[in-house]
Symmetry: D2
Subunit: 357 residues, 4 copies
């Protein structure tokens, strides 16, 4: 259910509606738009009485939402969601394409700084790096854990880059939330609903990667899980689906970008590294993602890909990344968008902000 | 690495080898076979020195295992793994096909008992029922939780049926382990490695369902995660894969049964309910699973499928189930296997055994 | 559109209705059933006037068929279609499962006779062998052509086996129709509509293999193409679909057997050889196909698979085939069906019947 | 086998080598490059003696080609193949992206001319239109046949656009070859090897669409069938593959463009209309195709898509097409390529050239 408030509705009127919804045992989600505020109503079962709500002061309309997803839907919020990173010029979902880059895994301080310096110079605003790695084999390198997060926090201090890293479970989530600026939920965990709920209870932006065989609806429903807990800063990510194709590791489904933009107000970025699994295909598909209208890119970059502990074959060289950013910027401009020259941080903003639950 | 002990090796000799492996920082996994004991060696990195180990008393051979999966491999353990349920005649992986049945979700005590009575009478040895449901929508019925587990424990007392239920995360795992006889890891969590590790630390048998787009190797590696923690009682389950096909919800890949039996000593059962998603196809595919050589079946049964809170469309009626068991038993006998007439419990064994971590 | 005649309708009444339909520029397809005759009406466009038809003597009912397939539909013909092979005890779609076996390609007379003798002894009623092979590479062995057909005609004379062989185009169709008893349309040609039409103009039974990524509806529509030309003796064949799975060459979709039986009166057999691509999986999947309710099997058998010019890896040995037939017969009996002991031919029937167009 | 001639090799030397190859029962395929000529050798079986060939005057090197595809391979011809349309400025595979547009089916002269005028004005160089339609249903509109081809020939005269149309079989091929400038082989016929061979015997350029579930190797082998018959003017086309995805009719696999360019010298264009099946996704994916590096686009355009007899839902409006061409041109320039302003024809070139077999 969706309650559309009048343009001139006051904060008190909005609060009164929310209080009423809560008193009925449901959860209100006030979502301010440019023109009006809409209030999504969620709850496991039953239905709020429509007539009573329409009588509340400031209410313009009460709409039954028939789609299984509610809070992610454009019906509920017409304007694009833009995720801001306070104290910086970085954002996701607005005019500028967000550029995220870094190694698959944080291996050493030297490696991480070497890559970070180069991707920052090339214009990236976000540094991605794995501290906790979901590996197919229990015997493979599983990441440096908290040490990796500390290195990345230092990279933020040194270069201003905002930090994106994956959480796998309650413990790693607590640490990623503490050190990083954005919490990644990986493809293998897209339907780990317990993790989605916990992530929904943090107040850090979330990067939600599409599962390997997830439909559009399943992807949106996974985001709905996070939003239903009150965290509305969700960014989706297309990273390739599993098909019969054998010339790439996955098949990048770029049409999903357009499909998401039609149904949802959430931003969606593209990962051409996992989406292809092959270095020689990363840059062409990154250009394609920009051309299709993606809100950003996340790319694996390594200064010595042949020595990488994971995903070396799909990591591009720093110089390739720099060239890629240049091409992507030109394509973005054709679509009346742009790519920042680089991250800028206000003096006081470089310290990590501790998320509160 | 795999250490094959001589036939006549003593327990002391085996322990000495294990102690040595531990002293080097690795983990030994002694796996007794009919003829000899083999000791699997796991550990995140590096390699035990082969020469030293070969000098230990009782050691027949030291083998480097090149496959990514070790403990699940037939190279390590030639004999089929049979999972026993002490105090009962039920087992999985031996001569008799295991038959698991029950509703998708436990909805009420009445519903659960009504179904349980009928599936027990038809010959099932295991009762399956969801207490914690991984639902695509955060607003859908999520299961009765601990109450459902208590109902199922009472069903064990009443009918002798061993209880199988799904755990989603640490909290639900603790409860499922306490009340149930077998812990299910669902398809969506097949690559939730944190959960796999936790499940590996329990001492209850595990039913590991194949992910919707998991390859054979990924399935075996998920089992390896559990076994690497020391829990060797793993049963795999084929439940259909995601394809372009639209006449069933998933496509049941029965050839994977044969493929698993060649590579691994673990049992594999088949779920024709999720594997087809349509009531009229459950029984034919159950017969096919028995004919291909599966070690058992897990089937959704509901006495009023049209009123089911979840998966009603794929739940069969109790009478269909009874007929199915009869046909499956006849097919099993053609393959020199059989289906028990029903569960039998020794007087003292019906109380739940608390797993220890 | 479908015209259902009254039970007691005479041949004259049926002919009068057909004549009327033809006079309007449409095509009537009288399909006799056990109780009544139904007349399917096809034609590229427009619609026959319903009222006029209902006034014809002997007409019980005129039904608009909304499904895209008409002649293949159970709505049009409720009874199972059984394809008979006159002068023999062989049939497809009735009580007995049809067993087809033989080498992928006819390589030499010696090879073909060696295989034929053994599969005939094991109970096969049909001999399959490729004369024209659709090979991925233009440089691979393309089949012996007419010489292969002549060898197979001699095999029919020697062993009574009915001959099934694939036609690729107009020329090969003409020859296959002349020499063989059943014309195979291969998976790659399932949507070669020109070939389907030509095959529809022959009067020999057709074995139509499902395309590698064909949906159920596309498969039925391909059969509809053949039937719309007036050839109603169509047998479908599931031979595996293309998925992400890598432990078999294709994924055998056994649920399609049940789905076809619900929607269509046509028989459907299963090809576990192409469906798996691996010798060790052919027999288990053949059993599964029988258990799911398939109307027959088509299996590649070679007396020296390691020397086969094509598909050696998926060809089973004659002894495996003989064991398979025994197991399949036992499974068939559980489903109240059976497998013949072997082909029997009336003295005068062994000569090939020339199809007329 | 591949024979690389010396840079300074004369035509006589090349002919002598070819004659020798023919005298041995093989087929020589001289493929001139910028620097040197290479001669591919094909034939069903056996191997030319390498030593003898190396002794021929003008031969630099004799190479055994181990890949299953030979003539399509970059090993055989390093330079990109550019297909020219004599008497016009149109080409495929060179610096300019080829732009093909038109309705799915030719329905009437008025419709065809209305669309053609607008796509010509927007910069298209090729007019696509179906005369023979491969339809899933035998009762659906199958195309106007030769009448459609005559209309398209008139469109060439009126607007200069080169004509692309699909052939389904021998009869339609003869007519398409006579009237059109480029013969299309559709996705459903990609492995109709008889048709590929016949098309290979024409001397008109061929547009070969990828099958719905064709691997990269199968696509290249289909082109090899055409080239093995002596027709080297083959252009590949990615048109979407069949996956589990349900938000588009097919999933466009743009990485295949990069993969083809690495392995083969043949051009590859992209069809975003069939690749998505939805009007709102055609233009974004067309931009993405240009950005990934495709050699051109083929797009369905209809002036009244809601009234189209086929594929209306995926046909874009002429104005959308014009905007698309503008955006694609800008993206092409970023990759140092371009899009022509429109077709230009020398006075004497507008008459159709009759292909000779």
């Amino acid at each position: 259910m969706l309650i559309v408030m009048k343009k001139q509705a006051t904060e008190e009127e909005i609060r009164a509606v929310c209080d009423h919804i809560e008193s009925l045992g449901f959860r209100p989600h006030p979502l301010p738009g440019a023109q009006r505020t809409a209030i999504g109503v969620t709850g496991n079962q039953g239905m709020v009485d429509q007539g009573t709500l329409e009588e509340f002061s400031g209410v313009a309309e009460v709409i039954r939402v028939s789609k299984p997803y509610k809070l992610v839907s454009r019906d509920v919020k017409e304007e694009d969601t833009v995720v801001h990173f306070p104290g910086t010029n970085a954002s996701i979902g607005g005019r500028n394409l967000a550029i995220m880059a870094g190694p698959c895994s944080i291996e050493t301080r030297e490696q991480a700084f070497a890559v970070a310096e180069q991707v920052a110079a090339a214009g990236a605003q976000f540094f991605r790096g794995g501290a906790y790695k979901p590996r197919t084999s229990p015997y493979a390198f599983q990441g440096l854990g908290e040490e990796a997060l500390r290195i990345m926090a230092d990279i933020r201090d040194a270069f201003g880059l905002r930090i994106v890293s994956e959480a796998l479970d309650s413990e790693s989530l607590e640490l990623v939330e503490r050190y990083a600026d954005m919490i990644q939920v990986g493809a293998r965990n897209m339907q780990n609903y317990s993790l989605l709920r916990e992530v929904g209870q943090t107040r850090k932006p979330v990067l939600l990667k599409r599962g390997m065989s997830a439909t559009l609806e399943e992807l949106l429903m996974a985001a709905e899980y996070i939003m239903a807990e009150g965290n509305y800063q969700v960014v989706l990510c297309e990273r390739g689906i599993r098909t019969f194709v054998d010339h790439t590791r996955n098949t990048l489904d770029l049409a999903v970008v357009t499909a998401v933009h039609r149904l949802s107000h959430l931003p969606i970025i593209v990962d051409p590294s996992h989406g292809t699994g092959k270095r020689n295909k990363v840059v062409p598909l990154a250009r394609a993602a920009a051309a299709v209208g993606a809100d950003g890119l996340i790319v694996e970059v390594h200064h010595q890909p042949d020595k990488a502990l994971s995903d070396g074959a799909q990591s591009i060289y720093p110089q390739q990344f720099a060239d890629m950013v240049g091409e992507v910027r030109q394509i973005a401009r054709i679509l009346h968008r742009d790519v920042l020259d680089g991250i800028q941080v206000e003096a006081q903003a470089s310290a990590p902000v501790r998320g509160s639950r």
